[in-house]
């Protein structure tokens, strides 16, 4: 048995803390208590059906469950409306405090940090694979299925295998327009879609320190696209600045120990990273955007839990300002939350988008998962700031999605083909 003073990664420490221990070994199976349990309009109906089978009657804590109907809302069809009604009734009957109806809701992974519901040191599960987003706050959070959420709603706990960690250290200075999205697409391109299978991806280095919170969320959001269990970052002054005005309970900061054991260590020099695009049909098909200028597009989407935050909209607005969307392209902008929408409105970004010929949608997952609000027809191609470009992800199985950051998506909408900002500015 390892002694209590054996160096640990922050992932180990958070898991140990939540099962009442000082130390956990990688590979160990543990049962740990949770700070928050999340579900949405797709995964919650199943979770509720399973929860009812357990027979406990009430959820373990009506303040530690978050329900965000964001995928097919505002309801796209009768079946979705039925599902949302089912979820809404459950939230009402169980007196769930963090149920977010249309008008307050946003895309779950943008909304929960904004509301201060996830804090540093938390252990969170969500029936949504991109629950790993909150690692940007120094929390251990991961996606699970509906049955796990059902059990967690009943017991307040979940089983975990303590993951090994991979350290990614980013140094150098970023090229113009390069953001967290380019760094993470580059990283997934480097290690592949299963390069971090079952592992915690710990992002560190001078570049991360200088990165905005929005870009940090973007990076942790896509850890799952490399198979990762957590995408996690150490808490610094920027994190605290973000968290403090939002937090309504105390939180705990965990740091990886010097000498902690890492499965692998990547050192990435960011000075040479160009604006990235992931070609169909895997997020690991990373390429330099400037090498893809022969790819024409039918649609550009700027939004999602990956890139629907204010930084993304600001970048897009800078590029769209005074320019027009190409007449062969449908450009769809989706602010991720009501607050982001409002801020974009106040800053004049929404006006810029509309004048350029973009449509601006209420917060929703919408086209990201081929739900609604911008489905692709056979043979169509989109550039999108979302996180997945699998076969059929945005619509017809014979359509294509190219993943990018907001700068490339905006420039491409203007050019009608994949483009970098320098080509339009």
């Amino acid at each position: 048995m390892a002694a209590n003073n054996t160096p640990q990664t922050m992932a180990q420490k958070i898991l140990a803390y939540h099962c009442g221990r000082d130390y956990v070994n990688t590979g160990e199976l543990i049962n740990a208590s949770l700070d928050l349990v999340l579900g949405n309009d797709i995964t919650m109906p199943l979770a509720i059906e399973e929860f009812k089978k357990i027979g406990v009657g009430r959820v373990f804590d009506d303040k530690k469950i978050a329900i965000v109907p964001d995928h097919f809302t505002p309801n796209k069809d009768i079946k979705s409306a039925q599902q949302c009604k089912f979820v809404r009734n459950f939230a009402k009957n169980q007196d769930i405090k963090n149920y977010f109806e249309i008008g307050q809701m946003g895309i779950e992974h943008a909304l929960l940090p904004e509301k201060g519901l996830v804090l540093p040191g938390d252990l969170v599960i969500g029936a949504d694979s991109h629950t790993c987003t909150y690692g940007a706050l120094g929390a251990a959070s991961t996606g699970v299925g509906s049955t796990d959420v059902a059990v967690a709603m009943a017991t307040g706990s979940a089983w975990f295998m303590v993951p090994e960690s991979i350290k990614f250290e980013y140094s150098g200075s970023l090229k113009p327009w390069v953001t967290g999205k380019d760094l993470i697409l580059y990283t997934i391109g480097l290690i592949g879609v299963d390069g971090a299978l079952y592992m915690s991806m710990e992002f560190t280095g001078t570049v991360i320190k200088n990165l905005s919170m929005d870009s940090r969320f973007t990076m942790c959001n896509m850890a799952i696209e490399a198979g990762g269990k957590f995408g996690i970052m150490e808490v610094d002054s920027k994190t605290e600045e973000f968290v403090k005005p939002r937090a309504s309970r105390p939180f705990k900061i965990f740091r990886s120990d010097n000498g902690a054991n890492y499965y692998k260590h990547y050192e990435i020099d960011c000075s040479k990273i160009e604006l990235q695009v992931a070609k169909p049909h895997l997020p690991s098909n990373a390429a330099n955007a400037k090498d893809l200028s022969n790819i024409s597009i039918d649609q550009a989407v700027i939004g999602s839990c990956t890139n629907g935050r204010i930084e993304d909209l600001r970048i897009a607005a800078e590029i769209f300002a005074g320019r027009k969307v190409d007449n062969t392209v449908r450009a769809i902008i989706i602010p991720a939350t009501q607050n982001i929408y409002l801020e974009a409105l106040e800053k004049g970004y929404i006006k810029t988008f509309v004048e350029s010929g973009c449509v601006v949608s209420t917060p929703t997952c919408g086209p990201c998962l081929g739900g609604h609000m911008g489905i692709l027809a056979e043979g169509e191609r989109a550039v999108s700031t979302t996180n997945r470009n699998f076969v059929g992800r945005m619509g017809h199985p014979k359509s294509e999605v190219y993943l990018s950051g907001p700068a490339v998506a905006a420039a491409s909408a203007i050019m009608g083909r994949i483009a970098v900002p320098e080509e339009v500015l």
Binding site: P45, E50, I54, D128, L369, R388
Partner: protein, 166 residues
Amino acid sequence: MIIRDKVIKYGNNVDTDVIIPARYLNTTDEAELASHCFEDLDPDFSKKLKDRKIIVAGDNFGCGSSREHAPISIKASGVKLIIAKTFARIFFRNAINIGLPVIPDAIAASNINDGDELEVDLDSGFIKNITSKKQFKINPVPEFIQGIISSGGYINYTKTKLKTNK
């Protein structure tokens, strides 16, 4: 438990969007989900199911979205077992939680071809490829996970546990 059946084989990185596309996620009805299982990857899947009920795949099976509808649609189509070189973690978890047997085994998975007939003994941990006459020993399943599977899934397991704790 012994499973004897023939194999439908797929490649690497079979994601949950092709297992069950998001456009069908507006229901939790198992039969309806099953009717769309794999339709974007393999339109002949339902035909193949007539005499083949084991799926064998490459790396990272079930990557992508956490939708439990994916293992549910597979299980409800009548598939008895999935063997893959590796599984994506959420899919793996979900399959165990709903009681769909999954075996991660790189050597076995690379030595099984489309259409092969297998006999798999989940208790003693053996895969017999009847077609090629090869045999594989599978890694033992952790006790805790065995407990979930033998209870018939995580819900039943939890129910029993809550009762005994009372």
